[in-house]
Structure formats: structure tokens, C-alpha cells
Amino acid sequence: MSITYLEAIRLAQQRALADDPRVFIYGQDVGAFGGAFKATKNLAQEFPGRVIDAPISEDAIVGAAIGAAIEGMRPIIEMQFADFSTVGFNQIINHAAAFHWRTQVPCPITIRLPSGGTSGSGPFHSQSMEAIYAHYPGLIVMTPATVEDAYSMLLEAVAIDDPVIFCEHKYLYYHLKADQLPTEAMPTGKARIARSGRDMTIVAYSAMVHEALAVADELAAEGTEIEVVDLRSVKPLDTDTVMASVARTGRLLCVGEAFPWGGVTAEVIARVASEGFDLLDAPPQRLNAKDTPVPYHPNLWTVHRPTARSIAVAARKLLRQ
């Protein structure tokens, strides 16, 4: 059996619906159609009345999820594209994120954000929003990079008593496969050493983990051992694992697909610089998408975001320092 990242997301939702009558799915086209990416395929038929099509209204979709969560339900909502979550931004950051702090009543919502770039998707269907949501207290931001994590972290997201921004990567939907789903999983908040090494640490998350691993393979052939840390969730951010890795290697490159300004990579570097400056043998570096909207044409897109090619250039430069 071979399970894709997308199928893992579908199976996690199926399992959540089956295990807990409080769970329901709400979003645009999630019903009989099965979702724009088919992440809810057949679920409406299997769970009648619990997988509901919403009118185009991200603000009202998130708002309704908050109301249902207050009443003890466990809504999973699909934003269709992460980019569209901006329309529901007010409800996410001002209402859901602040609700428990204000009232002590939990607000357990899972907000699925099909994130990141795919070729030809352009400025409004390719964005990575994790840094924006991680900025706000009261939200958990998950960025799974593997089929196993996509499955186990989505189940964990539904079980958590707080609003979770679940950034699933569209490029990984069909590109990743696993033989089986995990029965036991590493909990959210722990980063994973995706590959061990002694010469340099690359911290990455989501699709960038795989680009970083490709670079580690490439440089291994030249005798350089790169350690790749997969953050798994950007909030909470596992500073301890990052710091321990940098202590082993002395060099840090942090890679993210989102825009550069004030992003996850900036946060990782700020933490390492302020708490582990003496561990570093060279200035920590970061690599992000360019500071422009995401371009449409594949020629532009493949250069706009970090890839194994640009990460390798940055890694080699850092190794020389």
C-alpha cells in the first residue's frame, strides 16, 4: 500500500470523524465534491450531515467554527487555499486566538491551509502564511513535511483544545508517499532530525525539508555532512533541538518558502543569535522566497522560491566562511 500526503490528510479527517462525534468539516466545496484538492473525497457520503459545503465566506466560515467550538464541537475547516484565509483573518487572530485568554473557554478549531507554491499558481494560490499566524498569541501553527506527520499532526490538531493553523503543502500532496501510517507519532512541539551531520545545520520545514535533504545528499558526495532539522511546527518552535544541532555543527542555514521579512527563518536566527551566539563558527544565514508576490510563469517561480539548487549555493557559501 502506498499513501500520499494528500491521502494521509483525508484519512486523518476520516479517522477524526469516525472517532469523535463532535468533529465536523465545514468549507467551500468540501461536501459531495470532495474538496478542491479532494482532501475530503467521499467523506460527505460516509458521514452524512457532518461534511458541509459553506457559501464563499471565509470570515463567516471561521466565525461559525468559533461558535461551534465554544459549544463543544471540534470543527475542521478548509480554507481551500491558504491565501484565502486572509479574508477570515479577523476571526482567526482577533477572535479565535484571543478567546481562551479572554474567557478561559477553549476554542478547539482546526483550520486547514493548503499552502505553498505549485507551478503556475501565481500570486493568489501559492502563499505560505505560517509566519503571519505564528505571530499571534493563542494559535498553534503546524507545518508537516512528511506523510506520517500530515496524518498524525492533523489528528493531534483536532484533539488539541486550541485553534490550530494546519499548513499542509500543496506541492507535497502527490509528491510524497509512505508505505503505512504511523500508530505512534512524535508530538507537536518537537523538531525532528531528518538527517544527521556534523558540518552544518539546515533548519527547514514543510516542502523545504525535502529540498534541504536533496542538498545534504549532494554535498555528502563531496564529503560534507549536513544536518537537516525539520521544525514540524513553527509554533511552538523547538528552539532546544535547533540549538543542540547548532552546537554540534557550528553553522546554521535556515530555509523557508515564505517571504523573507520577519518570517520563521528570521525568528530561528534571532533565537540562535541571542541564545547561542558562542556556538556559531560563522554568521547564521537564511534563505527565503524573494520579496515579491509569487510569480506565475514556471521560469520565474522556480527561481522565486528556494530550491535544492539555491540552497546548495547558500550552503557552500556558508561552509567557506
Binding site: 486566538a97 484571543a98 478547539p108
Partner: protein
């Protein structure tokens, strides 16, 4: 209605005396409409009030002490000093604490009603209030449309109080009447004179009954004039004198009192007794809240998550004051 008015007046005087942080937002001129909402709802219903709904909050069951606690920052209040003034509620009791973003409470009430439907609970109503300014927001349109599509028992009360902060209705919307919007969403609409308590009780009561009976969302639009500033910091100098002098500018409390007298339901002396009783109740509530502790920042649990194990230590520590 009377208790709401006097409680509001007390908060305003505490604000002027510098004893309340932030702002004070009162409902003068809107008590008849507000109280009709609180009065029409039952235990088990959902109420998401807005800025000027002190009277409705009391009618729905809020204690004057809880209101005072929130304004005065008592840790024993429902918001424990973390949120203040009109941003208070007890969500587990179906009473929602508003956020400042207008229209935002509509879909949240919808979600609560959806949850009740999932649980098989019937016969409940969810009501929320808005000013005419709030009807210009995307949240209003998305929320009302959502309620209509799902045929939810939502009662959406709009107080067309003529000014959104200082912006007059003519700069807020261009349609003939806001109640016409009901037809646009396929819901029932009601309009009324918001200065008349009898009309408010009758019309809001009818809308709530319709929603309870399964006739779907109800939009209620009341004509009235806000007889105060946006908040106590605002002298409302922009309000048109002609509006003040029109029937729309009548004080709903006086109108209600006159009606009671005309009907020979009360003596004038009784009104004085009621006012004295309400004043005493307000003074006691405020005095109680003033005696209660306010938050200690060094004992505060600075934790925004319910999932304590996922709280990041980074940046969360507040340095203790150094010994001198």
C-alpha cells in the same frame, strides 16, 4: 431598562472621576430596543450583545456586579482584567463577549446554533445586535447569508441610531431602508420605532418567536437616535439638531414612563421608588466590585493557550522587579 440607564450613568461618572481605565460606552436612547431583546430570550438561548446593550444584558441575566467588575478590572469578574468594559460575557451560559470588529459576532452565533443543531437541541434562538454602521461590513453580509443558507434561528437586531461614531447614515448606506436587505438574503425583515418600548417588545418578540418556530433568520431594524456620544470621551457635537428635536430623538425611558402613567399602571411616586431602588442596587454593585482585587501582573498566568504543554517559554518570562 431603568437599571441599565442608571448603571450606565454610574459608569460614566466613574469614568469622569478617572476611576475606569480605557473607555465607557453607554446605551442612552437604545434601552427600549436592547431590553426587548434580552426580555424575549430564554435561558438556553444565545445572546451576543453589542456596545449599547447594558439593558439587554441585564434582561438576559447578567448581574450588575459582573458589569461593574469588568469595568473596574476585578479579577473576580468574568474577564478578570484581561478584557474590559463592554467586552464581557459568559460563553458557557450562551452569553458572548463581543470583539470590537463589527459584524463578527453574527457567524459566531451561527456556529453556536449549528452546534445545537448537531446535538439535536431544538427551540433555541441566537440573537445579536448591531448598529447601522455594522451593516456595511463584510461580516454582516457573510454572516446573514450564512444564516439564511443554513436556515438558522438567528435574530439580527440593527439599531439604526443615525451615526456610526460620527458618520451619518447618508454616508453609511445608500439603500432606502436597511430592512430591505432582509429580502436580499431571503430572510424575514421587521422595522420599528426604537423609541417605543411597546413596539420594541412586540416586534422583537415576534421576530424571536418566528425564529424559534423554525422560520429561519429574522432581521429587525429599529429607528432611533443615540442620545450620547460614541463613548464618554465623545461629546457628540456632530449630531443634527433637527434629529434631536424629532420624534426619533425622544428618550425611550421617558416615553415608557409616560406610557405607564397614561395607562394608569403606576403612580408617579412608584417611578421614584423604582429609580431609588435601582440606584441603590447600582451603588451596592459598584461598591462590591471596588472592594475586590485587581490583577497582579506578577501572579498572572501569562499563557494564551488552553494546551499548557504547547506554550513556548521563549519571550514569555516577565522579569520580576529588582529589589531596591
Amino acid at each position: 431598562m431603568l437599571l441599565g440607564r442608571i448603571l450606565d450613568e454610574k459608569f460614566a461618572s466613574l469614568y469622569r472621576a478617572g476611576k475606569i481605565h480605557g473607555g465607557v460606552f453607554i446605551g442612552r436612547g437604545q434601552e427600549a430596543l436592547s431590553v426587548a431583546v434580552g426580555q424575549s430570550l430564554r435561558k438556553g438561548d444565545i445572546f451576543a450583545p453589542l456596545i449599547r446593550d447594558q439593558a439587554g444584558r441585564l434582561a438576559f441575566g447578567e448581574s450588575a456586579v459582573d458589569a461593574a467588575r469588568t469595568y473596574l478590572g476585578s479579577v473576580l469578574g468574568p474577564m478578570r482584567g484581561r478584557d474590559g468594559n463592554v467586552h464581557r460575557g459568559r460563553p458557557k451560559e450562551g452569553y458572548l463577549p463581543m470583539i470590537s470588529h463589527l459584524g463578527a459576532m453574527i457567524p459566531v452565533v451561527n456556529g453556536m446554533l449549528l452546534a445545537r443543531r448537531f446535538k439535536g437541541v431544538t427551540g433555541v434562538v441566537g440573537a445579536t445586535c448591531l448598529g447601522e454602521g455594522g451593516t456595511s461590513t463584510g461580516a454582516f453580509h457573510e454572516g446573514l447569508n450564512q444564516a439564511a443558507v443554513e436556515k438558522l434561528p438567528l435574530v439580527l437586531i440593527v439599531a439604526n441610531n443615525q451615526y456610526a461614531y460620527s458618520t451619518p447614515s447618508a454616508r453609511q448606506f445608500a439603500c432606502r431602508s436597511l430592512v430591505d436587505r432582509a429580502a436580499g438574503y431571503g430572510v424575514e425583515g421587521h422595522s420599528l420605532d426604537g423609541t417605543d418600548l411597546t413596539a420594541c417588545l412586540e416586534t422583537v418578540g415576534e421576530a424571536v418567536a418566528n425564529a424559534r418556530a423554525g422560520r429561519g433568520p429574522q432581521l429587525v431594524v429599529a429607528r432611533l437616535l443615540r442620545l450620547c456620544g460614541h463613548g464618554e470621551h465623545d461629546d457628540a457635537g456632530y449630531v443634527d439638531l433637527k434629529l434631536k428635536q424629532s420624534t426619533m430623538g425622544r428618550d425611550c425611558l421617558k416615553v415608557a414612563e409616560e406610557y405607564l402613567l397614561q395607562q394608569n399602571w403606576v403612580e408617579r411616586e412608584t417611578l421614584v421608588v423604582w429609580r431609588n431602588e435601582a440606584t441603590q442596587k447600582v451603588e451596592e454593585a459598584v461598591a462590591k466590585a471596588q472592594r475586590e482585587p485587581t490583577p497582579d501582573p506578577y501572579k498572572e498566568n501569562w499563557c494564551a493557550l488552553a494546551s499548557r504543554h504547547l506554550v513556548e517559554g521563549h519571550g514569555a518570562d516577565t522579569p520580576e522587579p529588582e529589589d531596591t
